[in-house]
Amino acid sequence: MNDLESRAKAIVEAGREADAPKAADRDRIKRAVLMQIVAGGAVASSAAASTLSLGAKVGLAVLAVSVVGGGTVGVLKVRSTRPAVEEHVPAAAKSAPAVLPEAIPAPEEQPAPEGMEDTTRKAEPPRKPAAPGGRMEKTPEDDQLNAEVAVLKQAREELRLGRPARALQALVEYDRRFGQGVLGEERQAMVAIATCQAKPGPGAWAQAEAFMREAPASPLRERVREACITPARAKSP
């Protein structure tokens, strides 16, 4: 086969890396991929789960908060256009954060049940150095995202174990460390759920309604509705 002539080759070379994706593109799309995998239930019963690294699994565990307790996500199709970088902060997280109830007492320290120890950090495999034109370097945003995931995972486990007060403690820790973090929307949903479980009442319902209002496209809406709004209606005369 004949090679390209030099001018054509120059255009190819110049254009090859001209609009390479940024780390923000990589992270945004990865998050959408994980959410779609969770929504499709691909992890629950498939051997494909073994193909995920621990970091990805933890991400899935948090993003799958809506599945905890037997709920289902329903149909989630993550369709995204290419937004500005600030899309990393979910819409709900940009608004005023959900208020954590102060009246709930700090829970007694309890040992984690067998098999529930947090191995997410010590098992993180070392990453390879970036290859030219290939794998992108790990960014500080990666570290923060992993840290946020770890805290939310802890809160999610507490919820799953029926310990909403301890979940709220974890969410207080999230606020302290990350403020309105990347996973602020997930955090707000978990605050609403935990509050509804720990101290159901008008305050908890208001948190749930605020989440529903501020995150109209969130896959966690059904879970929040199930935990807060449905029981509230059932109790009302």
Partner: protein, 203 residues
């Protein structure tokens, strides 16, 4: 689904020496596959003609499919080649879908190429420095028919071998050779037309 179930699943086929992991251990880590190949797939999607606004969706779909099928990956090809195969199918589906939609303009980037001529002034070298190189490339690629564009992108931009391209496209190697030869000729003609227009002559 609980984190425990994830852990149990994770300890299942992989730790028991399942075929897929034995065939290609590196490929069994979806996270690594994503990190290693995201950049290539994103770039190839763009060069295959996916609009910037739709690139997220296409790349997302590629990796969702890859995740679903990763356990079936037998390691006979490189992961990158396997992902390109998925990408090409997703891109073809994208264009089939788009063409069904009224008002879609599949060759939007042609207009971008035409606009480049209007930058004015300077010689070809300077013009090439001024304009967005990716848009020039996309504009020229848009003048190739889809089959030639696929072969050209995989060969010249992603630098796959003809054997790999044949595997990606499910074609005979001789077909790839002949299609690539034709694609290169068309690309060079398009470059010549672009340069002629840029210099103010007739295409």
């Amino acid at each position: 689904m609980s984190l425990l179930s994830l852990r149990r699943n994770a300890a299942g086929p992989a730790s028991s020496g399942g075929q897929s992991s034995a065939a290609c251990p590196a490929a069994t880590d979806f996270d690594a596959v994503y990190e290693e190949n995201f950049r290539f797939i994103w770039r190839a999607a763009r060069r295959l003609g996916i609009d910037l606004a739709d690139t997220d969706d296409v790349v997302q779909e590629v990796f969702v499919v890859a995740h679903r099928r990763l356990a079936e990956f037998e390691g006979r090809a490189q992961v990158k080649t396997w992902l390109f195969k998925i990408l090409v199918r997703v891109v073809r589906h994208y264009f089939r879908t788009q063409q069904r939609k009224p008002g879609h303009r599949p060759a939007d980037s042609l207009a971008a190429l035409d606009k480049l001529r209007d930058h004015g002034g300077g010689g070809p070298g300077e013009a090439m420095e001024r304009v967005d190189a990716a848009r020039v490339l996309d504009g020229i690629l848009a003048r190739l028919d889809p089959e030639k564009r696929e072969v050209f992108v995989l060969a010249e931009i992603e630098q796959l071998s003809s054997v790999e391209i044949a595997a990606v496209l499910g074609e005979n190697v001789n077909t790839v050779y002949s299609r690539l030869r034709a694609a290169r000729q068309e690309f060079e003609r398009a470059v010549a037309r672009f340069r002629t227009q840029e210099l103010g002559g007739k295409p």
